[in-house]
Symmetry: C2
Subunit: 375 residues, 2 copies
């Protein structure tokens, strides 16, 4: 079967081993490594599609769980699919809902068949199985669908992690079997919590199932970052070289650097837009809380040298004023900056890989970046 | 003295007497009749300046009361003035704060000197007099400042209304005396509540003071619209013909038609953006509550034929989804549409006046417009 999404490994950095590639999808090519902004409810919060194009976003992520509950996949399908519905005529990846229902601790029950849960919106009884997740994602019509998985918490004992992993593998098979949409790729998800043996077993098992790409799930769930990095190093040799590797839910500057160094091609995270609305922005020097009083009379841009609309036109003093005054435009401008910051950083990372100097880039980044002001 | 703001009456509609003009200001010419979107806190809610340009906004209004309390006029002055602060390089009108402090019923005390009040933000003691209002507006650096006036409620007895009017006149003199900024015009404000004799006296008194333009204040404060229209008719003959007339705080489609018919040149109102964020939009057929369930599967634009970004790219179903999901983008798209609706209507009104067919335009508008779905 011709796969609708294929990955081309273009170059491996001679200095670091970091990967440069391109992901071909039905709605366009995506250069990798890539950061995917998150549009949970069929919109990247506070942003319009044309603003997403302006900051050079190439692909956005949307959420099966949220869209299933509201507005419902039927409405999205009737609209002509998610891209048409949200006027984003570029690639979209949907997650499976697995992580969201896992996060509903106390409100959900996991059985072999699937996950029964209560809607966080109205308390109504809901059920998502691998098959239901596939049905929803096929109705949404994303370019990339994710398998419905079982995420383990941190910390988690070996037995629980192993059972969750085996169930994830069985569910991955059910997803593969149920998935039929020919213009949509289905990615598998590696689980195994924080156990090297399980992570390697999961990577191998899923590699044998020949998915066109792989998520690495269940990381960044509360563990220290070095533990996450360890896991990435351990599984790297077992991840198929010519398939894209997507580190799910991760998106800070240092995690980009460490993930890319460990062979990651795709990232997503809501952090950029979430902290923006609360008045915190990324800079090359670390986190800057523009809401703070010290910026009341600071007429410099959020970040010197940034090419985004917010930095090209407005001062910290103005954006602080908007945020303090609960003006939507404050969150909008900070969101534009934060998303552009991450996208621009990825552009630089790709260039550094191409020029075989990714370790230099990483070192220079850390030299400027104040890790005490990290996330 | 050369006035920084001058009004040119270009044409009077032969069919209706409606006025077509141009207001020359330090930051550009404004065609009249004009609708001025409101940017209370130095931003039109949910909009960026470039979006305001895109919908063809020519001038925006900002609020002395709000900016005085937050961020304070000193910060705005240090930023280089309001235009620089908010990156809006077109004309700005500031109101005087009179209406805002009047609205703080129970929290303010009016004396001959000025108004003592408690800040709605932190309860701090504040005081605005005609002189303070001038100082603030001169620090803000708007193109047009408004005199600090006393607004009467509806209903209001004749004696109270008369006293408020006389104080307004005395304060207008103090404003005129205190105002020195040569690149900013000061407009007077006609008061007199709902008494013909007072309104005429106020119009005459202020005309004698030779302001470069006149606000008509204290209307649209709860009275039935026909009573407001009556007042406009009564004072029209006493308003200087070659000065702009600004009906303060008024901005619905029917009020545009009736105001223009009665010689009004300028309008402002927060309604467009306020109702937008609550999911209600203007259409040629009347109010449309796009939040309502009936639009869940309606894939038509907010308004057929509208040229705004929201209508050109998104469906009612999508915008409803965003609003229901509390997504900022929902309020943004509805705001763009509502502002563009009013601005476009004014463009049409100006064209109709120019072509001496304003009565026809008004009739055609009402024929399509469902007044039971009016505001």
């Amino acid at each position: 079967m011709n796969n609708p999404v294929t990955f081309e490994l273009l170059h491996t950095c001679k200095q670091s081993g970091a990967r440069l590639g391109v992901l071909h999808t039905p709605h366009g090519d995506i250069p990798t490594p890539i950061y995917m902004p998150v549009g949970t409810q069929a919109t990247v919060k506070a942003m319009t599609p044309r603003e997403m194009e302006e900051i050079n976003a190439k692909i956005i992520l949307s959420n099966t769980y949220h869209l299933h509950l509201r507005p419902g996949e039927d409405i999205v399908r009737e609209a002509g699919g998610l891209l048409q519905f949200m006027d984003w005529h570029h690639p979209v990846l949907t997650d499976s809902g697995g992580f969201q229902v896992f996060s509903l601790a106390g409100l959900r029950k996991i059985t072999e068949e699937g996950v029964a849960f209560r809607s966080h919106l109205d308390g109504s009884k809901q059920f998502i199985s691998p098959e239901v997740s596939m049905d929803i994602q096929q109705a949404l019509g994303s370019d990339i669908a994710m398998a419905f998985d079982v995420c383990s918490p941190y910390p988690c004992d070996h037995k629980t992690a192993e059972e969750a992993m085996h169930r994830t593998h069985r569910w991955a098979e059910r997803c593969q079997k149920h998935h039929t949409r020919s213009d949509q790729a289905l990615f598998g998800i590696v689980q195994g919590a924080f156990y090297e043996d399980l992570r390697i077993e999961s990577a191998k098992t899923l590699a044998d199932m020949d998915f066109p790409g792989y998520g690495i799930g269940g990381l960044s769930v509360g563990e220290p970052k070095p533990i996450m990095y360890d896991m990435l190093e351990k599984i790297e040799p077992y991840m198929p070289k010519h398939k894209p590797r997507y580190l799910m839910g991760v998106g800070t500057p240092d995690c980009f650097l460490e993930g890319v160094l460990r062979g990651i091609d795709m990232f997503d995270c809501v952090l950029a837009t979430r902290i923006a609305r609360n008045g915190t922005v990324f800079t090359r020097h670390g986190r800057l809380v523009v809401r703070n009083a010290q910026y009341a009379r600071d007429f410099e841009p959020l970040e010197e040298g940034c090419d985004c609309y917010a930095c090209q036109h407005f001062s910290r003093a103005y954006i602080r004023h908007l945020l303090k005054a609960d003006e939507i435009t404050g969150g909008r401008l900070a969101s534009i900056h934060n998303l552009r910051f991450l996208i621009r950083m990825m552009e630089e990372i790709r260039q550094a890989i191409l020029e075989d100097r990714f370790l230099d880039y990483r070192k220079e980044f850390y030299e400027k970046y104040d890790m005490t002001r990290n996330f």
